[in-house]
Symmetry: C2
Subunit: 424 residues, 2 copies
Amino acid sequence: VACFTNSVLVRKRSGGRRPQAELLTIGSELLSGKVVNTNAAYLGRELTEFGFRVAFQQSCADEKRSIQEALRLALGRSEVVFVSGGLGPTPDDVTRESVAEYFGARLVFSKEQYREIARRYKRRGKKVPGIVRREAYFPENAKPVFNRFGIALGFVIEDRGRRVIVVPGVPGELERLFINHLRPYLKRSFPDLRPLASLVAKTIGLSEPTVMRRLSDRFFRLGRFQFGIYPDVGEVALRLYVEDQRLLGRLRARIRQVLGKDIYSYSEETIERVIGERLRTRGWTIGIAESCTGGEVSSLITKVPGSSCYLKGSVVPYDNRLKSRLLGVEADLLRRKGAVSREAAIQMARGVRERLATTLGLSLTGIAGPSGGSRGKPVGLVWIAIVSPSGTQVWKELFTGDRRQIQDRAAKKALEHLWRWTQR
Amino acid sequence: VACFTNSVLVRKRSGGRRPQAELLTIGSELLSGKVVNTNAAYLGRELTEFGFRVAFQQSCADEKRSIQEALRLALGRSEVVFVSGGLGPTPDDVTRESVAEYFGARLVFSKEQYREIARRYKRRGKKVPGIVRREAYFPENAKPVFNRFGIALGFVIEDRGRRVIVVPGVPGELERLFINHLRPYLKRSFPDLRPLASLVAKTIGLSEPTVMRRLSDRFFRLGRFQFGIYPDVGEVALRLYVEDQRLLGRLRARIRQVLGKDIYSYSEETIERVIGERLRTRGWTIGIAESCTGGEVSSLITKVPGSSCYLKGSVVPYDNRLKSRLLGVEADLLRRKGAVSREAAIQMARGVRERLATTLGLSLTGIAGPSGGSRGKPVGLVWIAIVSPSGTQVWKELFTGDRRQIQDRAAKKALEHLWRWTQR
């Protein structure tokens, strides 16, 4: 979950000569807040990387008048207008008709798209319902964009130097149509547009102000570039766009110099994947004993394909007696020190490592709240331990937030320690 | 993750006499797709429930000219314009200045907000940096909206029957300012506006077409209402808005009649919470043995506060030998039938129930892919078992999608079975 706070830190250093693209997302559900507009984020990112200046995005309701008003405005200022949504079969979906009417064009039928629709229904043993026929129509002044990823036909209109691109709002279809048809189309239409070079760096364990302080003003005087900083749970990502490849090299060198030891990836991969790659390369296996996070660390690690190569298993001893029964934590120690203690964390990590016969044992024990805290052991206190052939290490952490945030932050912190451990 | 497909099903049956509100979200990061616009979703939902017609939303870059152009457009058609973002301290943030300039107003200083800023810095033992002073300014023709949840002052301008409301883009601050200051302000400003009544119903285990078929056309002839259908992993939610309270009762009765046995909640709560409430009421405890989902079911259940009352613990026997060692699944059975089998699922659920001494044992074993599938046991095959004092039940499921989707769908299906079990 990226946070808006970063807006205060986004610096724009890019030239203004790039052609302008604009997004028009259609659907009442976007305006009533029922659905978060991920299409706008996707298209915005793709068009920016393509080299367009994306200066506006509008959403409007499924109403002819509103759609045409928004389209008029967009065509008045932008060279490429991307319209998504409102191409479905029900009477509410009026994007197709609104755009055609705007250009004074009739709708014509695409046999090719209709064959695709019929094929899809046939596969499920059904006939095409009458209302679905609409989805194979396009304005006569448009080029159809054949959609083999879904039902609704897309289309492109070129008019007085402007381009209107209309695509279905289903995210999966929109993304595939963009990659397979529309990016090539834009490449042909704007042959001189140089894509922006981009640079990603994902740091872990640092706060946003710390990242900014390490970069310092010197970094921002290296040249003209677009800079974005995006905090997520326990991590901060940097994403830069730049026109000049040599500048990109200088920026990368500087980032590596001041942040390198906290960067786990220079691409979009997750820390779970990076850890997995490390464990696999080293031939190490791991067992996890997690209490307050309830299986979250284990679940994150098993989201990576092939994780069964290194994760042997996990135990969630939520009840304290299970810490003894399943992991061999001394009952006496639990009585003396409590389940949330340095000693319990170490014994949990040792226990899971021995019982699962793994190279590494990782454990978490803490208080996720909202109840269960005390003066000496407040809500948010979490002990994390790693036991390995080369030794044992244990960390005391204190997280803030609600139950879910404490769990998410503790899980990410455990992954951070594990990543650093596999780096050594 | 709600899906855009629902746009084809959204029916609008509401009158057009409600005042129009419009959203203007400011920030280059929204347009370059770095950040998903959750503020627009939040404000859209709140203003719709308040009774406004939300017909437009615009995003624009952090540029004076763009902001003023968008503002002019919005004021030309909407009675309330909500502007968020671009109030930070860096030179990129120009919302404050752009709005003041638009109305030809000077900026004036709020001592009250500056005291709050100083207090916040002092708490961290710091002085207020010079650039932050800007955030306590507001246009002279505005009423300041004091922000005790953050740094940046908000403000409201009333001009020729229009209202411009400007708030910081940090989601937490925006939401608190809305609840504490702006909703009361709108109530005073629009005393006659009747909030829409809303109805939520969360179904599980049904597809979107099935829900629509069960509702049938009869449902949509019951009266004028706004209808939204939102598929998520393994579940489908309905959200309706209506002006007439009596109609709401008829809609609820019909929904209950045709979907009741698959509805787990008539509010926004999660299935994990509903299950937790059931287990707690019945005094039942549970142990979980999950293989292909890697701890996801356990993690979901422990996200609920107080889950330690009923979840005793979980075991993730990712390595097959652990299925025997930790859960007592017969090694011979694993050889004969394989770890992904009806028999293994049952023995896992029995094993975890016995070892953890719980009322219920829940198990999942399957093939999440992308590799590991075979002709007889394809990727996506998952066995789910529940063992209880009253008996044992086992389900064979086949999920489609990539690894993550299969894991998410399997975890949700296990929760569905568990919910139905606790319903009996």
